[in-house]
Symmetry: C2
Subunit: 234 residues, 2 copies
């Protein structure tokens, strides 16, 4: 069934703006069609379209239940800013894999220092991925922070994994099974500087190796987040 | 150090064609510069550029050793044809993650039935990814096969994993540690039909769940291949 983000008002869901345009003009949905509506809460609303107005659609709520695809664990991804295409890919995959909080940061070898946090575009990617993976609560994307601010935030997490290319240790992924709060740090295309690596290890992170081949930043991010999510039962 | 594919002739490496153009015109390398040359064998050749001719570069081999990034395990990916961008992403990531053999196939819900196996373009992606992840032997990409031919090939593997969305079982990824030969089947954007699923299960595959969220085909592929590769010690 098709999914849309909308507002809930009493027994009705209201679909407006781009979501409405997609429903009406792209999918050509009609009165009587069934849809699922998310309002960014943990509830999913099964609705039937009642009226298609000029500016919005009104749908009657027929049933509501807790969204079954909500992430169970608290996974935070501290992701260095990468080139735009890769960055957007990482954001999309992080949503699919159940990351709850996404914190972009700048480090020495970031290739995109001029990165402007295009909030609207990123939000659109997040909402699109939510609908695709059928998760009603969008991942929180923070504003870009500095490397030192990232360290301060990351140090507050009990279990902090650091994708350290070929230098990392053989991490016991089985130990993730009982972890509730997991944070992951992934560097930019150019990797971290030696000083940055030292600083990350000083805040008690676990340095994780992803094998002998050099992975691109987005590959490391998607694979490590995927493993953490699946093996922790997220 | 920069990596190039070339021919080995006695004590010299010869870099021609697009690889030469990249070396000379893009990277503007000079005589005396050090490079690593791959000839698609398991050996990597450390060379010093001796002469830049009009059509090729000649580099003297100074040292040679077994490439340290070769995959240790035999991982085969049976990947349903997806939209071009996603397909190319999957090919690139499969190389980085140490897949040895890649078999594209067509199934009922493939969105790209008109898929033409653009051998040259795919080969370019494979070689680019090899250089990026520092692996001297390129992944083998087979021609596209039918669903039934895929089943026949896949059934010959001892350990066959099938990405079965939310219907899969809780696979014990730890059991991968001692596996030498592992095959993975991933469906297209539209998933497999019920009949196809039954057929895949009949050839003794292990149905693997990747969590409660619906993953895109390329996400399922990258994450499952990544987990198999890392947890098997590939």
């Amino acid at each position: 069934m098709r999914r849309f983000f909308g507002k809930i008002e009493d027994d009705f869901a209201v679909i407006e703006g781009e979501e409405f345009a997609h429903l009406k003009n792209v999918l050509r949905m009609k009165e009587g069609d069934q849809i699922v509506v998310y309002n960014k809460s943990e509830i999913e609303f099964l609705c039937k379209i009642k009226e298609l107005k000029k500016e919005f659609a009104l749908a009657k709520i027929e049933k509501q239940n807790i969204c079954p695809a909500l992430p169970k664990k608290n996974i935070t991804l501290f992701q260095a800013v990468t080139k735009r295409d890769n960055f957007e890919l990482i954001v999309q995959k992080a949503v699919e894999l159940g990351v709850k909080r996404f914190v972009p940061f700048l480090s020495e070898y970031c290739s995109a220092k001029e990165f402007v946090n295009k909030k609207e575009r990123i939000e659109k990617i997040v909402l699109g991925a939510c609908k695709q993976c059928e998760c009603s609560v969008p991942m929180i994307v923070e504003n870009v922070v500095s490397f030192d601010d990232m360290l301060r935030c990351a140090s507050k997490h009990n279990l902090l994994l650091f994708a350290n290319e070929r230098e990392g240790d053989n991490f016991d992924f089985l130990s993730l099974k009982n972890a509730e709060d997991i944070a992951i740090i992934v560097g930019p295309e150019g990797g971290f500087s030696e000083i940055e690596k030292e600083k990350i290890l000083e805040i008690n992170s676990k340095s994780v190796s992803l094998g002998k081949r050099i992975l691109r930043s987005e590959t490391a991010s998607i694979v490590l987040v995927g493993m953490v999510s699946i093996l922790s039962g997220n």
